[in-house]
């Protein structure tokens, strides 16, 4: 499946991926409303970790054998058999955050529910990739079954 891959040698630590992810996962889809006024505040699913010398945008690997899915006590976290996307069913999720406790990449964030990358639910490039100013994020299929 296609996944988002981060290249740390090109990451600028500008964190625009976070801004655009937040916007893409907001109600209004408007960058200013999403980042300033929306309540509840949208959560970015991608996180740039590191500092100006060394950084990388970390987000869900959509693992072949996802630990978060194993650990999910409600069946809310599922890996889509067709697309390979690991998604949270917000109706089912009770926000216990066991998924967070087992994700070895640190890709799940706390919100009302478990919040994580859904690859923007599109065939196109996800917002983080589309808006990375230095092509430090690429959306590509480097193997791994879906």
């Amino acid at each position: 499946m296609k996944r988002v891959y981060a290249k740390e040698e090109l990451c600028l630590n500008c964190r625009l991926c976070e801004v655009y992810c937040k916007t893409a996962h907001s109600q209004s889809k408007d960058i200013i409303k999403a980042n300033k006024y929306e309540d509840p505040e949208p959560v970015s699913r991608v996180t740039v970790c590191g500092d100006k010398m060394l950084s990388a945008a970390v987000n869900c690997r959509h693992c072949d054998n996802p630990k978060c899915v194993e650990a999910c006590i409600t069946g809310a976290m599922q890996k889509d058999k067709k697309t390979g996307i690991v998604r949270v069913d917000e109706e089912k999720c009770i926000g216990c955050m066991t998924c967070l406790a087992v994700c070895p990449f640190g890709c799940i964030k706390t919100g009302k529910f478990a919040v994580k990358c859904d690859l923007c639910c599109t065939e196109d490039e996800p917002a983080c990739v589309k808006n990375c100013p230095n092509r430090a994020l690429v959306y590509a299929d480097f193997g791994g079954k879906g």
Partner: protein, 501 residues
């Protein structure tokens, strides 16, 4: 704190309504103009160090930032302008030579803007470059004096080494050290894809660029940094740098703090030591000495590579060019005084040398008059801002043009003229790893290629309009040029008629 005698130059204006406090500006400004309030969330601005590089403006996702000129009026004085007063204050504070980057910003006449181009009407047809072949392939190198052929028509002349370019535009010398490896690599990649050449400057050739030696011009300058046999052999041609348009008569100085491991390896000097290029080559004190060096370099490369001599455009440029030609140079590059630099003493940059237009016209004429024009190729350098400047230069006699500032602008340079500080926010004129990585060669080579391809299209368009289908027919074709608002003397030197004539 002592009094700051110099008002700041710019004000960064943050539109609070648009700012989402994402902090991108805070993390991007190497001059630390943007910072967080104590809450760690609210972005604030301190404009004092702003150089108007526009990194924050261009990166801001909501367009919340604007840079304004900081207007602080001095009592009007046409002689003691604010700039001179400020420079005096700066020197009063430091006691040092003023340094600047990029080409001179002073309003000297730009002759390109006073030269107009011709087009065909009725008496001869113009050509549509989209429908008919249009040749801009350019060949550099010494041409034989005469051609002899055997009976079947095959040439029996032994051709000196030639360099074929798919465009008359090459990238001028910018050393690794003055610019980042990523910037140089972007140029190398673009040169390879465009079928032209980039120039290593005097910084040696970094091993990462070994795949690009076919399109590298390697420089031998007064410091002889990074010069060894393989360096000379791994090139398309060799260039002896005598002078640079932005700082004629001056050597170079790369401060030790910029000489990191990579730079030190490429230049073959100890890490952290200052890289000082002497003002003269200490083995060249005459044309004869130059001849000897040219000969040595040719020997070192089995006479397989042309040797170029690059000089700054100075007063008696024509005679010097003639001397260089006679010393055995195959290519002579003349660098006009508006040319750029990574760092030059401001006074030199703004006052020494002459414009490329006049130098080029004079040199071309002199070589023709002496009947040795075809023994060398002339490369013009020193600020080409658009394709029309290139066309005019070729019509004035250039075989090809060196461009540097334009591709740098394509890579993000905003002419903030602070290359010498090493804090280039665009990752160009810096060796700081956190800044260098901002310049992704995979993106930038595409942008540079786009620029040169666009210029190629325009050159073809202009040539077609003139009814010319080959750049060879344009070369030295001064009938295609007319001056406007120029004096008799200027027209005479440029060798062109006035508009209307």
């Amino acid at each position: 704190m002592s009094i700051n005698y110099i008002p700041r130059r710019f004000t960064v204006v943050r539109d609070k309504e648009l700012c989402i406090n994402c902090g991108c500006c805070v993390r991007q400004c190497s001059n630390e103009c943007h910072y967080y309030a104590d809450d760690g969330k609210t972005a604030l601005v301190n404009s004092n160090a702003c150089v108007a590089c526009h990194r924050c403006v261009d990166m801001c996702p909501t367009g919340a930032l604007r840079i304004e000129k900081y207007v602080c009026d001095y009592r009007e004085n046409a002689n003691w302008t604010p700039q001179y007063q400020q420079e005096i204050c700066r020197q009063a504070a430091t006691g040092g030579v003023l340094l600047s980057g990029m080409g001179t910003p002073k309003p000297y006449p730009v002759y390109w803007d006073k030269i107009l181009l011709n087009a065909s009407q009725v008496t001869n047809p113009s050509i549509d470059p989209l429908r008919e072949p249009m040749e801009i392939r350019t060949i550099l190198g010494r041409k034989p004096e005469k051609i002899t052929v055997e009976k079947k028509g095959k040439s029996t002349v032994e051709m000196p080494p030639q360099v074929i370019l798919e465009t008359p535009i090459m990238f001028s010398a910018m050393s690794f050290g003055s610019i980042s490896l990523n910037a140089q690599k972007s140029l190398a990649m673009a040169a390879k894809n465009l079928g032209t050449l980039f120039n290593t400057g005097e910084g040696g050739l970094h091993p990462d660029l070994k795949d690009y030696t076919d399109c590298a011009i390697v420089q031998v300058a007064s410091g002889r940094f990074g010069v060894h046999k393989e360096y000379l052999q791994n090139s398309r041609f060799i260039e002896i740098k005598i002078g640079q348009g932005a700082k004629p008569g001056i050597g170079g100085h790369l401060p030790g703090e910029k000489v990191n491991v990579e730079v030190s390896n490429a230049r073959m000097i100890p890490e952290g030591s200052d890289a000082i290029s002497p003002a003269p080559h200490h083995d060249i004190y005459s044309i004869e000495d130059l001849r000897q060096l040219i000969w040595s370099l040719k020997q070192a490369t089995h006479n397989e590579k042309p040797v170029s001599v690059k000089i700054a455009a100075v007063h008696n440029v024509a005679a010097i060019v003639s001397g260089c030609a006679r010393a055995g140079a195959d290519i002579i590059a003349i660098d006009g005084f508006r040319g750029g630099t990574g760092a030059a003493p401001t006074r030199i940059r703004d006052n020494v040398g002459i414009p490329i237009e006049l130098a080029l016209a004079a040199a071309d004429q002199r070589l023709r008059d002496e009947g040795i024009r075809s023994s060398i190729s002339l490369v013009a350098a020193g600020s080409f801002r658009c394709s029309a400047d290139i066309v005019k230069a070729i019509a004035l006699g250039a075989d090809a043009c060196y461009c540097a500032s334009a591709p740098l602008i394509a890579m993000g340079c905003h002419m903030c003229q602070t290359c010498n500080t090493g804090k280039c926010n665009w990752g160009i004129a810096t060796q700081r790893p956190e800044l260098v990585k901002r310049l992704n060669p995979d993106i930038m080579h595409e942008r540079v290629e786009n620029l040169i391809n666009a210029w190629n299209h325009e050159i073809k368009e202009i040539m077609g309009g003139m009814g010319i289908n080959s750049v060879d027919s344009l070369r030295g074709n001064r009938l295609m040029l007319r001056g406007i608002g120029l004096t008799e003397k200027e027209l005479e030197i440029l060798g062109i008629k006035h508009a209307g004539e």
